[in-house]
Every structure is written in structure tokens, then in C-alpha cells.
Amino acid sequence: MGQGRQGILTHGSCDVVGIDRPIIRFDHATFGFPGVIALKEISLDIAEGEFIGVIGPNGSGKTTLCRAVLGLLRPLEGHLQIFDCACEELRCHHRARIGYLPQKGMIDRNFPVTVLEAVMMGRYGALGLFKRPSRRDREIALEALAHVGMEHHRDTALGHLSGGQQQRVFIARALAQQPQVLLLDEPTTGLDITTQHNVVELVQQLHRELGLTVLLITHDINMIRSRVDRLVLLKTRVFAAGPPQDVLKPEILREVYGKDVVITDRDMVIVEDYHHH
């Protein structure tokens, strides 16, 4: 991918957050609803340009973390800072700097929309109210499509694409926001193994080429452990965080998942009763 393409898709102003300062900072932040705590007193700094994998069992708070980063949840206690703003002060133009890929199944994938129309929606938040998309916005959307290898499908109906192709289109929609942060909520769920690899490889490539900060929420530890800079293991709190080899220790995983975990050179297998093997 050329420099020109990189230039058009990355956010113009990165001056808000310095290199030595985190782009996202959770400071003893607790999230949930009255009586229900989804994430308790989490402290986590995410630096600009990092590739973070967020893992944890069902109900561990992964999606809550995602919604918090999007500014859709406010902490009950503690602080969350995004782009040097307290999340309470997060405005629409800040949100537009976070490209978001929701979980598969949250979107009606048969919605009557063409690929280009869907990607153009990525421009709407950044454009603001009362402004019509210009030729430049269309160019950005087309560049985003080219980045995910879907430029030839621009006039195809979204519903006619395969699951993997639709994920690519939604990643392009997120890229069209010219984001600083790419937030992906279980992007490989429901895809076949080859497509899963392709999607994660694409994310890694975008991280490398566009210098994006990536937060990838997933259950698929094997798929991401060799690709991320850091893993964050959640179980209602930050149970462990650090390089994958420090987080993926059998004793940590056993405590979080309640099962023994076999770690081989290439894969990890969670077994019902490891002591019998």
C-alpha cells in the first residue's frame, strides 16, 4: 500500500495525544448499572499505535469495555480518559476518531444498502450535521474499500456478500472515519477458519500500515496471540495484562476459565479434565 493511501485514511491531527501519553486511560474505573457491576476498578493505559487483544470468558466485561471506549458508558466510579478528554466530555467529533466494528449479528446484514453507501456512512460522523458528503468523502470511502480489497464490489448489495466480505466492508466503513483507534468486537465470530485468518491478517496489516491503535476483542486466543503487542485478560476486572507470553500462563487461564489449558508450540487447547491426560 502506498504512502498516498496511508495519508488519506489516517487521522490528520494526532497532536491531541503525545507519544509518551496514553491515548486511552482507565483509572480505577467501574462500569455497570445500579446493582450490577460489569467491570470493577479497572486501570489500563493504551498507548498510541499499540495492538491490544482483549480476551476473557463470556460475561467478563469485554463488550462493556468496548462500549466504554466508544463513550457510550460512563464510569460509575473512577475515570476514563479518551484522547485527553474525560469520557463525560467526549463529543461527537472525538467519537468519529474511533472506528468501530460491532459484533456480527448486531447489524441487519440484508439492509438494502450498497457496499459504497455502507462505507460512506463512516464519513457521516466526521462530517457533522448539515454537511453533504463531498467528492473528497467519496474518495476516502473508495480508498478505504481499496484497503480491504473490496473496491470492485462498491455497487454490490451488502446482503449479497459472504460473511468475510461483509466484515471487510465494515472494517472499510470504520477506516472511512479516518480513525486513530480501531475497535473490533469479536470480528471473527461466525466465520470459517480461512476467513478468520484473513480478517485478522487484514487488521494486522492495517495496524502496521496506517499506524492505528487497535483494540481487538475476541474469544479466539490462538488467532491473535502471535499478532498483538499486549493481551488484556478480563474477568470483571483486569485479571492480567501484558505481553501474550506473560498472560497466557496455565495457572492464570485455569483461574479465569475454570478449566485446565494445554499449551503446545502452536496451539492452546482447553480440556475438561487435564489431570486425566
Partner: protein, 275 residues
């Protein structure tokens, strides 16, 4: 027939209502608010009934009742504490009960009130036409102004909000536009049938295209042609205008389903031999 003033007024009112209902209908169908709109229509009718009972302006009361219902619906949907169809079902029947109560309290039969229930576009007065025109321009203007945000929240409201669109405010704007559209259309197609005019053209267009832009365009063309065509049929065959418009639209809908490129594509795919 077309040289009569009342006929020209009726056709213009029907075409305006047809265009308005179908454009709003695109967002209602895509955002899954069909039942909410039906509830709003009956609430607006309750407002009309109260207005005739008390001698107040019917349009103002219809707007008040319509807006109150649609906003309550919106708050309930946002909070997610109750299934939308249940909450609307309660509001729908409660407002209809209010309407029947208000009519029951009236002394004698009031044909004008029933006109709002079943529609009487052929009796639209020049003043009413001016109000329909002004409100239609207001609603259509708002839709043009906020079309990109409206499309986005119809696609996925949470994604829109996460992307920096003020999605919650746009959602309530859409609800407000639905209520205004219902009120504007009461006189033409009536409270019982107005929601058919909101749903059917958009649902018909849905059968024909995969593009949002084309969907809106087709819906407007279908809405205007069905509304004007219904008025002409109503006048030619001396049948009520509201049902004529809605039944014509329904016929077009079933034809679209039958010849839908989407359906034909599915049938073709199913009958093709598997590789």
C-alpha cells in the same frame, strides 16, 4: 373531472401526502418502527376527537397527542425495559379507548370526526391544503437536511452514535417527523389507513432495490402515483378515497413481491444445480 377545483385540491393533497408518507416510511420500515407509527395514528385521532368534543382546534390536539405517544414510545424503546410491541400495544388501545370515550361524550353523530378516521381527501378545503403543504414542506425539509444521519440510525443506531452522529437526538427527530406525518395525513387517508401509506410504498420499494438512494426514490414515486391514482379511482367509481388509495398501494405491493428481482434471484439460486 380534473377541471374541478375540489378535484385539483384533492389530487395535490393526495400527492403531497403520498410523497411525505413514503419518504418517512423508508426510515420507519428500515428502523423497525412500524407498530409505533400505527399507535401514533390512533393517538392523533384521540386528539381530534377531544378537540371536537371541547371545541378546540383539531390539528393542534392531534399533533399534541401524536407527539406525546411517539415520544413515550421512544423513551420506552431507549430504556429497553419493556418490549416495544407490548408498550405500543398498551398505548395504542388506551388512546383508541380515549377516542371512543370522547366520541361517546359528544351529543349526536359527528361526521367530521369520522372523516378523520377513514379519510376524505375529496373534501379537503383550500385552508387545509395550505396547512398540509406547509407541514409537508417542513417535514420533507427536515428529512433532506438530516437524511445522512437518518439513514445511519436506520442502519444501526448504536454504530451511528459510536461514529460521532448524535443518534439519540436524530432518533427523536425521526419520531417527531412520524407524528407530524401522521397528523398531516389524517384528513386524506384517515387514522386507520395512514399507516398503510407509510408502510406500503417503502415496503414495495424494498422489494425492488438494494440501494438506499433508489429505495427512497422508488418509494416516493410509488407513494405519489398510488395516492393520486387512488383519488382518481375514488372519484370515478364513487368509493371512499382512503380505502381506494390504500388498496391500490396494496395491489402494487403484491405485484412488486411477485416480480421482485430479489425474490426471483433467490428462486433462481435455489433452482440452480449446486456445484
Amino acid at each position: 373531472m380534473l377541471t374541478y377545483d375540489f378535484m385539483q385540491r384533492s389530487l395535490l393533497a393526495a400527492a403531497l401526502v403520498g410523497a411525505l408518507c413514503s419518504v418517512v416510511g423508508v426510515f420507519v420500515v428500515l428502523r423497525g418502527l412500524a407498530f409505533a407509527g400505527a399507535g401514533t395514528a390512533h393517538a392523533a385521532f384521540a386528539g381530534v376527537a377531544l378537540a371536537y368534543l371541547m371545541g378546540w382546534p383539531p390539528l393542534a390536539l392531534a399533533i399534541l397527542f401524536g407527539l406525546a405517544t411517539v415520544w413515550i414510545t421512544g423513551v420506552i424503546e431507549e430504556q429497553g425495559r419493556m418490549k416495544l410491541d407490548v408498550s405500543i400495544g398498551i398505548l395504542y388501545t388506551a388512546t383508541m379507548a380515549l377516542a371512543i370515550l370522547f366520541i361517546g361524550l359528544m351529543k349526536g353523530y359527528n361526521a367530521e370526526v369520522y372523516g378523520y378516521l377513514f379519510g376524505s381527501v375529496l373534501s379537503v378545503t383550500p385552508d387545509e391544503l395550505r396547512v398540509v403543504l406547509a407541514l409537508s414542506l417542513l417535514v420533507l425539509g427536515m428529512i433532506v437536511l438530516f437524511s445522512k444521519e437518518l439513514y445511519f440510525i436506520a442502519f444501526d443506531q448504536e454504530m451511528a452514535e459510536a461514529s460521532g452522529v448524535p443518534a439519540r437526538r436524530i432518533f427523536f427527530l425521526l419520531l417527531t417527523l412520524v407524528a407530524l406525518t401522521v397528523v398531516i395525513s389524517l384528513k386524506t387517508v384517515g387514522a386507520v389507513l395512514v399507516f398503510a401509506m407509510i408502510l406500503i410504498p417503502a415496503s414495495t420499494a424494498y422489494q425492488l432495490t438494494h440501494s438506499l438512494t433508489h429505495l427512497t426514490l422508488y418509494a416516493v414515486v410509488i407513494g405519489v402515483l398510488c395516492a393520486a391514482g387512488g383519488v382518481l379511482l375514488s372519484s370515478m367509481w364513487d368509493v371512499p378515497s382512503g380505502p381506494a388509495i390504500v388498496l391500490l398501494a396494496t395491489t402494487v405491493f403484491f405485484l412488486a413481491v411477485l416480480f421482485s428481482p430479489k425474490r426471483l434471484r433467490r428462486v433462481h439460486a435455489a433452482s440452480s444445480p449446486q456445484p
